[in-house]
Amino acid sequence: MTELQAEQGAVVPRIESQSQRSRYRDVLIALAAFAVLAILPMLTGSKALLDFVIRCSAFGLFATSLNLLVGFTGLVSFGHGMFFGLGAYGFGLIMQRSGLPVPVAFVATLVITTLIAAVIGAICVRLKEIYFAFVTLAFQMLIHSTILSWVSLTGGDQGLRGGIPRPAFFGVDLSNHVHLYITSCALLVIGLLLMRQIAQSPFGYTLRMIRDNATRASFIGIDVWRAKLTIFVLAALFASTGGIIMALFVSGAYPEFAYWTISGEGIFINMLGGVTTFLGPMVGTVLLLILNDTVTRLTEYYGIVLGIVILFFAIGLRKGLMDFVVEWYARRREGSGE
């Protein structure tokens, strides 16, 4: 046995037990977070706060899933919003037309998203960098145009109106505001936990390697195309779940959900919160929604204020808030160690 092999033999089990431990830790954190969110309605009667958290769930799932592509795999998608829109329209249409139970419609929407994402992804992930960004944008706008022009199915620019029926299932009544809130929180926490597991799995590390050096990854036998396609479809599923929450929240679906600005907002949320930490996008979501709510109340020139905030992040910090905090903390610890 060479020295190298001996070393590997010693190192591998330790990493496994560590990842096992971090998995338990993640589950505990998720449970605690869910518990805190779940008792919120009992502590406060504020409907606005609950609404805020529901919107955070929808956009948080969407933004975090986008970061699986942007931050972890290096695939800058300008069209991720199409899956948000697809989730909202898919779920809304199934509920309006079929009267299926909510969980069945939920799964059916995810199945449809998987199929469409697989086809679109198979075409897109062949392209690199800016061309990938543009072809995803083109698909996004293609879907948006289809929604606008297929009036008999989607209602065109009016959107899916008339409300989405929400029959009760397993004692959960989604037309009840608190039930809807708890369900959204549960979906958010489960979604984040699953995405965290994907990011920390060996597959997640494969993605980081593809991001850093795709050529080297393919040299050691990784099927880069397949890995990229897999994460493209997985990310689409979580974005679609965000869209479903949104459709349930507004009881409808509108073409804006599938417009490219949703993707732009997703990118912006990621830049705001930071792309190297897992929870960065979640922080960005909360920041952007607070910013949206306060600035639109204070001034009609929302764009100028938001633009200046963006400039502060892009030119001032040069990174997202969480990335900045993490680096600052690491530097400080280094400094005190000396």
Partner: protein, 300 residues
């Protein structure tokens, strides 16, 4: 879908001329915007997401100048010169700070300015639709070509864009400055080592790109209505044009712009609701078959 209208038009020479002219108008305005975009990308490697705002400012500058002076020539001049100056300032003060950092950061700076510029226009000129009106010199009877109606202003517009295309093509291909710019696009480190100020070239190219977009806006002002946010659809379409033509290629921008113009013009007859969808479909088909666009160079 209304395929009868489309086939009916293709069978009538009058309709054919009218639609082709309108396709050229859309295409030529797009070309002026897209060629600036493609130049900036080719030399600075920056995807200028705020490029549509220069088109918008060009239109507003032209309208204001026309209202004050009543001179069409001065209106065009202030549209082009004003946006050139704006482009120079924007590049030197803001964009130059994010060269070499993440592409997303550059995009974010541009996105910030899309938001800011739209609101600035809303503050100065108000949120409502404005129109510049057709200058008296062009308020003459339209020409009839094979039964199709062609307003004289359209001919001027097409002419100006074609002249710009030729001047740019020759300027970049034949002159010393053109060679320096191409060299800077290829190897900025070497150009800078030869004692040429690359910052000046970058600023100049950005100003040139802004000027072309502003000129397009100024030319469009008499025939389109002006509103804050008007740059946006133009931006998206000129992105499609540059991507189809190949990023960095002037000829590609010209061909791509004419193709998109024709798709819009004839598509609006056959597929009134899906005209935009047709453009995106076309872009997907081009990118899938040729990932770097029709005239783009393969990147290793």
């Amino acid at each position: 879908m209304d395929l009868d209208a489309l086939t009916g038009c293709l069978a009538s020479s009058a309709c054919l001329v009218t639609q082709t002219t309108s396709g050229f108008i859309i295409g030529m305005l797009l070309f002026l915007v897209a060629v600036g975009l493609t130049l900036i990308f080719g030399v600075l490697k920056v995807v200028n997401f705020s490029h549509g705002a220069f088109y918008m400012f060009g239109a507003y500058f032209a309208m204001t100048a026309y209202q004050f002076t009543g001179s069409f020539a001065l209106a065009m001049l202030s549209g082009a010169a004003g946006t050139a100056l704006l482009g120079l300032i924007f590049e030197r003060v803001f964009m130059s700070r994010v060269y070499g950092s993440d592409v997303l950061m550059q995009l974010l700076v541009c996105y910030a300015f899309v938001l800011i510029f739209d609101d600035v226009v809303r503050m100065i000129w108000g949120p409502e639709f404005k129109s510049m009106g057709m200058p008296a010199a062009f308020q003459v009877a339209p020409l009839f070509i094979a039964g199709g109606v062609v307003p004289p202003y359209y001919l001027l517009l097409i002419g100006v864009a074609l002249v710009a295309a030729v001047v740019l093509g020759l300027g970049l291909g034949r002159t010393r400055i053109g060679k320096v710019i191409r060299a800077a696009a290829h190897n900025p480190g070497m150009v800078s080592a030869l004692g040429i100020n690359t910052g000046l070239i970058y600023g100049g190219v950005f100003a040139l790109g802004g000027m072309l977009a502003g000129l397009a806006g100024a030319l469009a002002a008499p025939v389109r209505s002006l509103t804050p946010g008007m740059g946006f659809s133009v931006l998206i379409e000129s992105f499609i044009v540059t991507v189809i033509g190949g990023m960095g290629s002037i000829l590609g921008a010209l061909i791509g712009a004419i193709l998109i113009g024709m798709i819009r013009s004839f598509g609006s007859l056959g597929f009134p609701l899906f005209t935009e969808g047709l453009m995106y479909l076309f872009m997907v088909i081009v990118l899938v078959s040729r990932p770097t666009g029709l005239f783009g160079k393969e990147v290793a």
